[in-house]
């Protein structure tokens, strides 16, 4: 297969450049970093934790890397920073490297050797919407709402607003963000059309045929925008859902864990040029991030309170300790007082969370195709080739192997590199019960009642 050749070529290039026999068990000693002073960007979200931990715990310094960490205003600024070299790397939305490589939005070759976490997002609606949704939600014996809450409960509300001529506005953080796709997935699963994109016609608003109108708001501004009444709900990462509960301005109705159990979330993005120019540095960054992720999930989340303390510092996430702790320490507060255990709300290392699976990349591409961001039909191979260009398990493997060799990690903490093909087994835990098989993206798209199917074009 063509895409497999691409991977092999990439691995060979990297192995040559680093002097690493990445495909063999015997790896040569990892060289010193070519670039030691680095600047990484992040958005104020709890899932930037691996970067903060790698810094604070000295994992970067252990690799001989001197890293400056800078908060960015929004995802666009962050991506531009990585592209123009102001930033060497950044905490990115999984869709960003893919969309950039594909040329949706800004064209640039961005790759990712490291997936930063699983889950961690939620959908919050304003108190006003919540009170209208509530009658449509089944109750448990203790009177609390039955979870997961599907968008079916929201549909009558949206219809009422539409009948009254009021546009039903919702916020997400970026056109190619996980949050956009998750919010769309959830809405569409409940029969609410979130609208199409038509970039070939110059329409990148994503509101064609929409019943709910989605627009971009930077994460930290979500609660304020909701409070102002500009949007009725939003999908965002933590702590901005819990913040709404604390401020008493909205109610999280569903977490992404419930929409798709253990869905891949942020990635660590760098330019392809950076990885080629500084191969040792790239592997070393990946090593530091893997160690940080391990630390975050160690001993059944035992380090999480310390992590929360670090994140609550004003130059990282900066929200109050309690707000961040709410989700980071294995619970999630829905309606005020309705605090439930969600031990896997933030997963940083377990379940091979950090391994950059091709199938994860392809899932994002299927959603891009479903909503028209990829306007035309593409072959299954096209999906796989693009995924192989962007997701780089070869670098991850080199980093993981060297960690194993140095005794900083054990082999059983990682996928079996000898047999791993980069595709997760078909995944079943979606809110609408549709099964995802990364090998067949086109067949997968055809399963959705709402969304473009293969052969369709706006």
């Amino acid at each position: 297969m063509k895409w497999a050749n691409t991977i092999r070529a990439a691995v060979a290039t990297l192995a040559f450049a680093t002097g690493l026999g990445a495909t063999t068990a015997q790896a040569a000693k990892l060289g010193y970093p070519e670039k030691e002073e680095l600047t990484f960007g992040f958005i104020k979200l709890t899932d930037m934790a691996p970067i903060a931990i790698a810094y604070e715990k000295g994992f970067f310094e252990d690799e001989g890397l001197y890293v400056t960490i800078e908060a960015q205003a929004n995802w666009k600024v962050l991506l531009d920073g990585v592209i123009d070299g102001r930033l060497d790397g950044a905490h990115m939305l999984a869709g960003q490297p893919i969309a950039a490589t594909m040329g949706f939005g800004t064209q640039a070759d961005i790759i990712t050797p490291f997936s930063m976490d699983l889950n961690g997002n939620g959908i919050t609606v304003s108190n006003e919407i919540w009170s209208q949704m509530k009658p449509n939600i089944a109750r448990r014996e203790d009177g609390l709402p039955e979870h997961p809450i599907k968008a079916d409960a929201l549909k009558p509300v949206v219809e009422k607003y539409r009948a009254a001529g009021k546009p039903f506005n919702m916020g997400m953080v970026f056109p190619v963000s996980t949050h956009n796709y998750e919010l769309r997935y959830w809405l569409a699963a409940g029969g609410i059309h979130p609208g199409y994109y038509a970039p070939h016609k110059g329409d990148i608003s994503g509101q064609i045929d929409a019943e709910a109108l989605l627009s971009v708001t930077p994460p930290p501004q979500m609660p304020a925008t909701l409070e102002a009444g500009t949007i009725y709900g939003y999908c965002v990462g933590e702590p901005w859902n819990q913040q709404a509960v604390f401020k008493d301005i909205g109610v999280p109705v569903v977490t992404d864990y419930e929409i798709w159990k253990n869905n891949p979330e942020k990635v660590f993005g760098i330019t392809k040029g950076f990885a080629e120019k500084y191969p040792n540095t790239t592997v070393r960054i990946t090593r530091a991030l893997i160690r940080a992720a391990m630390w975050l999930d160690d001993n059944n989340n035992a380090n999480r309170p310390e992590a929360v303390k670090i994140l609550s510092q004003s130059h990282y996430v900066g929200a109050d300790y309690d707000v961040i702790a709410n989700s980071m320490t294995g619970t999630f507060e829905y309606e005020k007082g309705d605090k439930r255990a969600v031990p896997d709300f933030n997963v940083f290392f377990r379940y091979n969370a950090t391994y950059p699976y091709y199938s994860d990349a392809i899932w994002y591409m299927t959603q891009m195709r479903r909503w028209g961001q990829i306007p035309e039909d593409r072959s299954d191979d096209w999906y796989k080739e693009l995924a192989a260009k962007v997701y780089r398990p070869d670098i991850y493997e080199a980093a993981a192997r060297s960690l194993i060799e140095e005794g900083l990690a054990s082999a059983d903490q990682f996928p079996d590199f000898a047999t791993e093909d980069g595709f997760r087994d078909p995944q079943t835990h979606f809110i609408d019960g549709i099964v995802y098989n990364g090998h067949q993206p086109n067949a997968y798209i055809d399963k959705f009642p709402i969304g473009l199917k293969s052969g369709e074009k706006l």
């Binding site: 890293v67 930290p220 900066g318 109050d320």
Partner: protein, 331 residues
Amino acid sequence: MSTITMTPGRLLRWKPQVDGRGLLTTTVKLVALPAAGILVFLLLWSAGARNIDTSLGQFPGPLAVGEQFGALYTEHQRSREKEVAFYERQRERNARRVAEDPGYEPKIRDYTGKETFIDQIGTSLVTVMSGFLLAAMIAIPLGIAIGLSPGLNAACNPIIQVFKPVSPLAWLPLVTMVVSALYATPDPVIAKSFINSMITVTLCCLWPMVINTAVGVASIDRDLVNVSRVLRLPPLQHVRRIVLPASVPMIFTGMRLSLGVAWMVLIAAEMLAQNPGLGKFVWDEFQNGSSDSLARIMAAVIVIGFIGFLLDRSMLQLQRFFSWDKGTATH
């Protein structure tokens, strides 16, 4: 400026009066009234704050803000300690590396920790002064040329009139893109963000300085120009000996005006472009949405105001120092 301003300058000019009653009145005016004003303000503030509930909690009163000043200073000190440790670790690491890899030339890298509030104040001040000086270097010669030449004045006037009312913030995106395109060194000595902020400040300072300088030059007493003509001063001498000194009061008025605006614009630009400085501090705190955020923002607001005031006063002192016409250098 209003009469309420209490200036160090006035205190210095204060002369003890022999008449006891006069002394008392002066003391009341200079010390007691401003103190009373500040006290009333603090009372109103704390009373008002107690009645404003935001989604981030109660609006901070003077006490909460005072506490945050303390916290910000403690953070600064802690950061300095971390910095010392950082350099220590780096030295050790370098020594180890040299032992393993004798070809390695150890290099001490700058501390990678975050700027503290106090660092941000420094950054903003350096930025505003650099932008301001750059603007002065462009604006004063340009203003002199325009003031001297009616032809050049006619040519430049429409451009100046159109660009003058543009908020420099509107330039910011263009500046950012142009700087990115033109300043593309792999390892820049000066940060791009600094250059962006600086150029924005420069753009903002430029127009008031050009206009004031040009007006100052154009409105030089005809007789002084005639003196120069009778003496047959060569053009450069004419500028240096007559034009420049004659327009110093107007030039300084323009400089003071633009520095005031520049300081305001810089804070906004830092907020907008996320460039290091006090503006970014305010924005970051706003984004954090922690329960201390508002008090910290308020602390920044006070510092911003105070620095703006000090900048204005320093310009005034400079103007007094350089200007022959003491009459124009009032507040």
